[in-house]
């Protein structure tokens, strides 16, 4: 692990200032996104310290923001307008929250099926959505990787790519986004609240992550020293008819090969609206808009679900070892849709 400076922040504004100043006085290399910035926020550290030990991330300054968990940034509140999740709440706290479990089951289920109990006690929501790919070539500095070292090439495209993405890929990068919780937020039309050197702003969850394109190293819309402070989810009757289905190599404690977050609005037996997001198969949390369009106005049957799944993967590009993800991803989505339609939802 490279040497770094360490400081603790007492509030979000102080944290942002400290991270910004690290950038100002640091090396004169341009930092196109938050992940390469010299000042990094340290929450649970479950991604950051792992990647620092691997020498994949080399921040000059860690701003410890764990103290913020006791304040508003760690709070979860649910009301008639919707749900507000402080970015410093832990995965475990959120998963156990009564209103989350009752009114937003897709969130509780995505969290409960992610990582391990120890990691869920440590990891905080803001960092969770920013966790970085598990691509073995990204994690090992002896390989070329356009995400880690722009312009060096992609070892995964012609390599061991069983776990890699089939949606949202480019000729520069096929690394899959590994998370679960972000898919739930995406399906629920969540908003991300951000604090940065220029002040506060908010953006739709759908705009947080960026497809690799020509710049796989720029993973999100966040700028250096910008910090996620909260997620908000609008209240809607359909959030109760939601679930998360995750398919993996073992029953527990594994990343998704394919997963589906489904939020269904059913009226008189027909789909009035839906939110569908896919995990394990794409480079970013993947909103399956074409699947949602197929379902609109139709009864949810095995047939319509299969057509939706077909639409979701119509543009998929399989590679040598991951073509199975097309079938697996479609079947995962069909099963998730049918299960969501069967849910008994109270008032």
């Amino acid at each position: 692990m490279q040497p770094f400076a360490y400081t603790r922040a007492a509030d979000p504004a102080m944290a942002v200032r400290a991270a910004r100043d690290a950038g100002r006085r640091g090396e004169a290399v341009p930092f196109p996104g938050h992940a390469g910035a010299p000042g990094q926020f340290l929450g649970g550290g479950t991604t950051l310290l792992d990647l620092m030990k691997l020498d994949v991330m080399r921040p000059a300054l860690l701003v410890d923001i764990n103290g913020l968990g006791a304040g508003p940034a760690g709070r979860i509140s649910a009301g008639p307008d919707g749900l507000r999740l402080g970015a410093m709440a832990t995965m475990a706290e959120t998963e156990a929250h009564e209103a989350v479990r009752r009114d937003y089951p897709v969130i509780a289920q995505a969290l409960a099926q992610a990582a391990s109990p120890q990691l869920r006690n440590m990891a905080r929501l803001g960092g969770n959505v920013l966790q970085r790919t598990r691509c073995a070539y990204f994690r090992n500095t002896s390989w070329p990787c356009n995400k880690r070292r722009p312009g060096s090439g992609c070892a995964a495209i012609g390599g061991q790519n069983r776990q890699h993405a089939v949606l949202g890929t480019s000729e520069q990068c096929i690394a899959s986004y590994p998370g679960d919780f972000a898919n739930a937020l995406l399906a629920l039309d969540a908003t991300v609240e951000v604090l940065g050197p220029q002040g506060a702003r908010s953006l739709p969850m759908a705009r947080l992550h960026r497809q690799p394109g020509e710049r796989p190293d720029v993973e999100t819309d966040l700028q250096p020293a910008e910090m996620i402070t909260a997620f908000t989810v609008p209240a809607a009757p359909r959030t109760r008819r939601s679930l998360y289905l995750k398919i993996r190599d073992r029953d527990s404690y594994a990343f998704a090969l394919a997963s589906a977050a489904v939020v269904l609005d059913l009226a008189d037996g027909r789909v009035r609206g839906s939110g569908i997001a896919l995990g394990g198969v794409a480079t970013i949390p993947w909103r399956a808009v074409h699947a949602e369009e197929v379902l609109l106005g139709r009864p949810l049957t095995e047939r319509s679900a299969e057509e939706a799944a077909e639409a979701a993967f119509a543009l998929a590009i399989p590679r040598e070892h991951n073509a199975f993800k097309l079938d697996l991803g479609r079947q995962c989505l069909v099963r998730a849709l049918l299960q969501a339609a069967e849910l008994e939802v109270r008032g």
Binding site: M1, Q2, P3, F4, A5, Y6, T7, R8, A18, D21, A22, R24, R25, G26, E27, P38, G39, L42, G44, G45, T46, L49, D50, K53, L54, P59, A60, L61, L62, V63, D64, N66, A92, A115, S116, P117, Q118, L119, N121, M122, D251, S252, Y253
Partner: protein, 210 residues
């Protein structure tokens, strides 16, 4: 000794050396790892660029009810601080990347991975390790006893982490069935495959704990 073996091959007597056990030897050499204390304090205004030569920072840890002040390279994980700084080698280093659970300890009563926790982050918080489970009279914690009684280990390397996780699993109320125990113990890997007996140990200890 069985027939046909040369004399002495079956029962080799190894001279015991009571003064220097492996455990004591390792613990004894480990405490020299702390580095000299310098002026940088955590919480002081951030130095912008990373220091070329790491300086030591004071870190206050409360481990198993005892307060310690250590002078640590700020990169030191809680795991290394426990093992190398305090000689508490019961907590094991398995993968060192948050994948195996061997380093599980309790931080303010919640189970966490000490290999992905900076010691500085644990400053001022209560840490409990496997050494802290023992009762005041020296008898084993019910979970430790249950692991012995059900033979819930083979090589034993993952066992401290398994036990720390198991104690938390029961305290969280996640030991209601074999399936629930398996799910909530999934962060602790056992290469020997002692899983059935680990589940049996937790089922046995759960009512005594709660």
């Amino acid at each position: 000794m069985t027939e046909g073996e040369p004399p002495g091959a079956g029962r080799m007597e190894v001279e015991r050396q009571p003064e220097v056990s492996r455990r004591r030897f390792l613990a004894g050499t480990a405490t020299g790892a702390a580095v000299p204390l310098a002026a940088t304090l955590p919480g002081a205004p951030a130095a912008a660029a990373a220091p070329a030569v790491p300086e030591a920072s004071p870190v206050d840890l409360v481990v198993n009810g005892q307060a310690h002040r250590l002078a640590l390279d700020i990169r030191t994980t809680l795991l290394d601080a426990l093992r190398d700084g305090l000689g508490l080698t019961g907590t094991k280093k398995g993968c060192d990347h948050g994948q195996c659970g061997a380093c599980t300890v309790h931080l303010d009563g919640r189970r966490v991975l000490s290999c992905l926790t900076l010691a500085a982050v644990a400053d001022g918080h209560e840490v409990t390790t496997i050494e802290g489970l023992e009762q005041a009279d020296g008898s084993l914690h019910p979970m430790q006893q249950a692991f012995v009684d059900t033979d819930a280990l083979q090589c034993g390397y993952c066992t401290p982490g398994q036990i720390m996780s198991a104690v938390a699993c029961v305290a969280e109320g996640h030991a209601g069935s074999d399936a629930e125990i398996r799910e909530y113990m999934s962060g602790n890997l056992c290469r020997c495959g002692a899983y059935p007996n680990i589940v049996a140990a937790i089922r046995r200890a759960a009512p005594k704990e709660s």
